[in-house]
Every structure is written in C-alpha cells, then in structure tokens.
C-alpha cells in the first residue's frame, strides 16, 4: 500500500491548495441562460444568446469584468418550451451571484413571475413579455425593457403617420393587421382598435392560424379590402409566407410593416425577391458598423471566443438584440455597483440597478452603441424605460434604417397598463409599491 502514500499526499496538497485558492478568487456575477439552440425557434435563440454571450465575453476580456467583478454564465436548453424553461430555472437558480434572468420567451417568463418575485431576482423580457409588468408598482422584479407590445403598436402607427405626413393624415386610412393565431398574436388587438378610434383610421384584424404556412384566403380578402397598409404581426414561418403570398396577390411589399418579431434576416431571406422593400420595426439597428460590434469582432472573435458559428450572422437583428440586451444587463450591474460596492451583488441589488438604468444618448455613445439603440430611462415606476423605435427596410441583402428614432405614445398607453396591473395586484393581493419602497 505504500505506493498510495505519495498519491494521497498529492491529493491532500491539491485539496488544500484549492481550499486556499478559493477565497482569493475574484467576485463573480452569474447569468443563468435559458437558451434555445435547437427546435423551431433556434434561429432567434442562437442569434440572441450568441450576442448576449459575445458582449459578456467582451466585458471580461477587454475590461476584466465589471469593475473587476467577472461575469460568468451557463446555459440550459429550453427549446422555447415552458416546462423545459422551468426545469432550467430550478436547475440554475441555486448558483451563486445570479444577476438576472433573460429567457426571451413570453411563456417561460410568465411561468417565472411568481418564482423570481419570491427569489427577488430580476426577470428581463427585452422587447416582449407581459405588457402590464411595465408598472413597477405591481411587478418589482419584471422588466420588459425597451419595448412592450403596446408601445410597439403605437410606434408602428406613429411611423405610418409620419409616412403619410402627420397624425391628422391618418384619418380615413385603412390598415389591416395580419396576426399570428396565438396569445402573442392577439395581444395587441385592443390597442389597434383604440388607436384607430383615436386617429380615425379604420382597422381590420385578420388571424392566420398557427403556424401560418397557408395564407391564400387571408391575402385574397386583403386584396378585396384594399388597405393602405398591412401590419404583419407574425412569427416564424408565417413571415416569409406572408411576403410571398402578398407578392402573388399583388400587394405592394413596401406597404407591409413588420412588427418586432417579424424583423429578422430569417424572416425575409426565405421569401427571396418578395421581401425586397419590406419595412419592419426594430429597437436596435442591424449591421456591424457600430464601435461596440467592431470591438466584439476584434476582441472576442479575434480571440476565437465568438459564440456565433456562422460569422456572417454578426450584426444580424437577433445578434444585435443580444448585444443590446448585454449592454443593458451589464450597465444595470455597473449602476448597482456604484451604490452597493464593487462586489458580487444580490438579485435585489441588481433590481435596484435596473430601476436606475438610465442611459442617455451620450452614455450610449460612450458604450460604442450610438445609432445601435437610442436610449433607455427605466425608473422604479416605469420598467419599460421609454425605448425608441426605428424602422428598417430590406434591400434584398441587408436591412437599412429608413426612419428617425420614433417615440411611442407612452402617455396614452400608461392608463391601460396601470388598469391591467391593478387587476393583477387585486387578484394576487399585492400592495402597490410607492417611491419610498423603491429607493432601497
């Protein structure tokens, strides 16, 4: 047995070394990622989580973390399915230093609201999510950053107004909304009706049953009703099919306006020529000309640590959305660190950071993201943060920005959001937060 002795010594020494080394490890902030890289929505998942991870890598490599606090993460595959997302949540939530959750799925986000509220960790649903979680009085830990579905609707209508030459010109116009036959698709029906009433245009909302690979009858009725614009509120395969069918029935593609989940390369490339001239809303411009993307290409992909397998997708819509999401998460941590210290923060401290996530155009430029996204102004009261939208047009090979930054009509939407949030609060017995509760 004597030959085991040196081995035992070595094991002991290693264990001791690890034991002593541990306290010396710098603070870390951890991102649990409920990503989806397989399944029907893998294109969105790989792009978004790829961009998010690329930005976290950039911060680690270039800056050595946020004020010395290293960013870490691990992934769990959800396939965009709610029960897998819940499983991954339960699996990853016990890791140390969880900063925030970013599931990029409405269904998973809904299942998590009770859970994260109990655990006191923020839940970020950038560009999507539960609209009334904008009301920070009722949902302290949920942040539909930049754009909730109602603001998106208002942004699209404001864009159409600007093309027509002002909101008063909307009167008498006719808009058809072609929506995906799912809870997501139906969410904005009341808002389109409300805006139609306010501005005096007429609106017709037509459902496309899931998954939407057959739309002949819908487009024939669109041709009959001769609208001025068609808003495409699609998802997945529905989008290219809509564009192709529009071409078949002869509806002009530059009068189709896509919503925020109909705005990616994956939506237009399969439609080929039929998509040339198609316009869609976005909160973040695409392309890789922005300084922050240049740095990611140089620093992260240069070091062979880039997350996208296909480098042609750098700067695509979903990749840039992931990068913007990375910027917002990292800046929330930075802001919270300024108050609580340069160390691993608790979820509740990161929540404070998100509630003070105010990045004006100047700060956005410092971050190398000028023109990538406009600005954000989150408060304890408003968890969306007044995100601006812009519109991009597909030229057959890339998206080009064709509008200024447009502000949705937040004041109009806020009372509807508050009403819905109040209903939720009553149902759940939640006491509304006041500004006094929010400062700590």
């Amino acid at each position: 047995m004597s030959y085991l002795k040196p081995l035992r010594g070595a094991v002991l020494a290693t264990a001791l070394a690890i034991g002593f080394a541990l306290p010396a490890v710098a603070d870390e902030q951890y991102f649990p990622l409920q990503s989806y890289r397989v399944g029907p929505y893998a294109a969105g998942g790989t792009g978004f989580f790829g961009g998010f991870i690329d930005y976290l890598n950039l911060i680690n490599i270039r800056d050595g973390g946020v004020n010395g606090v290293k960013l870490t993460w691990s992934e769990g595959e959800t396939q965009y399915e709610v029960e897998k997302g819940v499983e991954v949540y339960e699996r990853l939530k016990n890791n140390k230093g969880v900063a925030a959750w970013n599931p990029l799925s409405v269904g998973i986000a809904y299942a998590m609201i009770d859970r994260i509220t109990q655990d006191k960790v923020p839940l970020i649903t950038i560009n999507h999510g539960r609209t009334d979680s904008t009301d920070g009085r009722v949902f302290p830990y949920v942040f539909p950053l930049l754009l909730n579905p109602y603001s998106e609707t208002s942004g699209i209508v404001n864009y159409i107004a600007s093309k027509e030459g002002g909101q008063d010109k909307l009167k008498g116009k006719k808009i058809v909304v072609l929506y995906h036959g799912s809870p997501y698709g139906k969410e904005t029906i009341p808002i389109y009706n409300l805006l139609a009433e306010k501005y005096g245009f007429s609106v017709e909302q037509i459902e496309v049953p899931h998954p939407g690979n057959e739309q002949q009858s819908q487009w024939l009725s669109i041709r009959r009703s001769k609208p001025d614009y068609v808003v495409l509120r699609g998802w997945g395969v529905m989008n290219p099919v809509a564009l192709k069918t529009a071409q078949k029935v002869g509806f002009p593609v530059d009068h189709i306006v896509g919503n925020v989940w109909s705005n990616s390369e994956e939506d237009v490339i399969p439609a080929g020529d039929a998509a040339k001239g198609y316009v869609a809303i976005t909160t973040q411009a695409s392309g890789e000309q922005y300084p922050v993307l240049q740095e990611i290409v140089k620093t992260v992909y240069g070091a062979g640590k880039g997350n996208l397998e296909d480098k042609k997708r750098i700067g695509s819509v979903y990749h840039n959305l992931g990068i913007v999401n990375g910027i917002l998460n990292v800046e929330a941590i930075r802001i919270a660190q300024a108050r609580f210290g340069h160390r691993t923060l608790t979820g509740d401290e990161v929540r404070w950071g998100f509630e003070h996530l105010q990045l004006d155009s100047k700060r956005v430029e410092e971050l190398g993201a000028k023109d990538l996204f406009h600005s954000i102004n989150v408060t304890w009261f408003n968890h969306e943060g007044d995100g601006y939208v812009t519109f991009q047009q597909w030229d057959g090979s890339k998206w080009n920005v064709v509008s200024n930054w447009i502000a949705p009509d937040w004041a109009l939407l806020r009372p509807i959001i508050e009403k819905s949030a109040a209903g939720y609060a009553a149902e759940k017995g939640i006491k509304l937060r006041t500004s006094d509760d929010a400062t700590d």
Partner: protein
C-alpha cells in the same frame, strides 16, 4: 398477482410493497433534497404519470387509441381555473372534481366516433379533439379571463383548508391526488367495468356476444380516462408550471403521453409510472450529466441533440428486449433475482 396469494390473506406481499412505497413517498422523500428535486423532477413526473395512467385505461385496457390527451390536460387546467375564478366559495378540491367532470364530458363526446372507427382511424379522429380544443381555448379569450396574452396565473393550492405552498407542499398535493386516483383505478380495473374494457379490447364481437354493452363500455372508458387526464392537467398547470398557456398542450404532449404508456407497458398501471420516469426524469438526469461532463466543450444545442439520439437508441433497445414495456421488463428482472422458495 394478489389473486395468486389467496383471497383470505389481508397482508399480501403486494400490499406490503405499496405500503413501503407510500411510507417512502410521504415520509422519507420530503425530507430529502432541495427544491429542484420537487419542482423540476417529482411534480412533473407525478402529473404526467397520472395523465399516462388515464390514457392507459383507455388505450391499454379498453384498446381505444387516442392522440388527444393533451387536449384533455388543457381542458382540465382551464376548467379548474374558470371554476375557481367564477364560482365563489367553491373549494379548490371542488374545482378539481368539476374540471375532471368537464374533461370527462368532452371526452365522451369525442369518444363517439369510436363506436364506428377502430385502430388508426380512431386515433386520427381523436386528433380532432387535439386541434379543436387548442384552437377554441386560443380563440375565445373568455377561457383565459380575457387576459390579453392568453396566459393565466395559477391560484393557490388548498385541500380541506390546508394550503400547499413551497416545493414540498406542491409535491405532497400532487402525490395525494395521484395516490387516490391510482387506488381507485386499481379497483376499477378489477371490477366488472374493468373486465368489460379488456373484453372489448381483446375481441369486440366476442364481447358483444357474451353480453358486454360495447357502446357503454367504450364511452365509459373515454369518460374515465378523460377525467383522470383532466385532473392531471390541473396538477401540470397549477402544481408544476403555475401558469397555463395553450401552446404547452400541443400534439407533441399527446404523443409524449402515448409514448409513456407504450414504453412503460400497455395495460399496466405501474407502466404509466415507469414510462413517465423514463420520459420525464431520465432525460433530465442525462442532460445534467452531459452538462457537467461536456458543458465546457460543446454548446447546449449539441448536448441536447446527442441526448435525444441516446434516448432514442435506448427506447429501441428496451422495446426489442421487452415489447410489453418497462413494467414487464422489470417483472422479468425481478423474477430472475428474487429468492426462490417452494410455494407456501
């Protein structure tokens, strides 16, 4: 098995086994492990086991193939939500029973084609339930209390005045319901109705000749099966996910439940549990193992795909070894290892 022990004995080895299992499930498991064990493994396992049990009564015992199980899960979940919301003062247990009855009623309706159709043709006709229910629940927002996104929150779980909160509470809540229904099912399949199910499955004409009411038997099977699946839907939505959205009750879920009973063993109540363990728990263990071993090397998509290939290969292997499912396979293993005695 109990029958071979002689009718006079009260304590049989089977009853003893069940007792031990219950002591473990109620007494020992709740003291083990963290929330992951309960919230991510045991509660979904129990809910899907119950759904598979319901389908097994219909498909395994009564021989009627159904591809609409997920629809009845959805009916159960949405019915419980609406009864709970709209009938003031109704105890939650009442909502569960009413949800089960609603599912049973709709199940009987969609079971009507079984009077004329058999086998694959019947399976295809049950797809109607699958697609119709999902469509109706999305189309009419009344079902989700006009929530704009159609996703609803789960109410608190209370049974006889006790609130079941926390991971262990939700587990015990599910366990109690599953145990009650499983016991009722064991009684059912040994009753005249249960024997009628098997008679209809094995030879419909012969059953008719010996006086089994085929029509009533088939509809009873659809009703009871849908009731159980409906209750499973309540567990799935309120104890496990704690949210309800129609997209989660798609055709994939129906197939998943069908595969559970095929792999676990048709016409075997235990088979539903073995199958659910294989389909629900095993991939999770594999995924965690894969993540721990190769998480740094491959991204999660590659890992997920390799797990699917692995599980597919295992399913083929199991079904070659024992086409009657895991329940029969385990019986064979048990026969092989148990101490042999001269029969007492």
């Amino acid at each position: 098995m109990a029958l071979t022990q002689g009718p006079g004995r009260f304590i049989t080895s089977e009853r003893l086994g069940v007792l031990v299992l219950l002591i473990i499930a109620y007494g020992i498991i709740p003291t083990l492990g963290g929330s992951y064990l309960f919230d991510a493994i045991l509660t979904p396992f129990l809910a899907l086991s119950l759904a598979a049990l319901g389908l097994n009564i219909l498909t395994g015992y009564a021989g009627q193939v159904s591809l609409g199980s997920a629809a009845f899960l959805a009916i159960g979940a949405f019915a419980a939500f609406n009864f709970n919301l709209r009938v003031p003062g109704l105890p939650f247990a009442g909502s569960i029973v009413l949800a089960g009855l609603t599912a049973a009623l709709i199940g009987i309706f969609f079971g009507l084609p079984s009077l004329r159709l058999k086998g694959f043709y019947l399976a295809v006709s049950t797809l109607a339930a699958q697609f119709f229910v999902q469509w109706a629940l999305t189309k009419f927002s009344w079902f989700s209390n006009n929530n704009p996104s159609g996703v609803i929150d789960a109410p608190a779980l209370t049974l006889a005045g006790t609130a079941f909160t926390g991971p262990v509470g939700r587990y015990l809540f599910s366990l109690t319901i599953v145990v009650l229904i499983t016991f009722a099912s064991t009684r059912l399949i040994r009753s005249q109705t249960g024997r009628n199910f098997i008679a209809v499955r094995d030879h419909e004409t012969a059953a008719r000749v010996i006086g089994v009411p085929v029509l009533a038997t088939k509809l009873t099977a659809f009703g009871i099966s849908s009731f159980i699946i409906g209750v499973a839907g309540v567990l799935w939505a309120f104890a496990y996910l704690r949210t309800v959205e129609t997209a989660g009750f798609n055709i994939d879920r129906s197939f998943q439940i069908l595969f559970i009973i095929i792999i676990g063993g048709l016409a075997s109540l235990r088979g539903a549990f073995f199958g659910a363990a294989f389909i629900v728990v095993f991939p999770l263990l594999l995924s965690r193992l894969g993540g721990a071993l190769f998480g740094g090397v491959f991204d999660s998509g590659v890992l997920e795909m390799s797990q699917r290939i692995g599980i597919g290969a295992l399913i083929i292997l199991f079904l070659i070894l024992e086409p009657r499912g895991l329940a029969a396979l385990l019986d064979r293993i048990w026969d092989w290892i148990r101490p042999r005695r001269v029969t007492a």
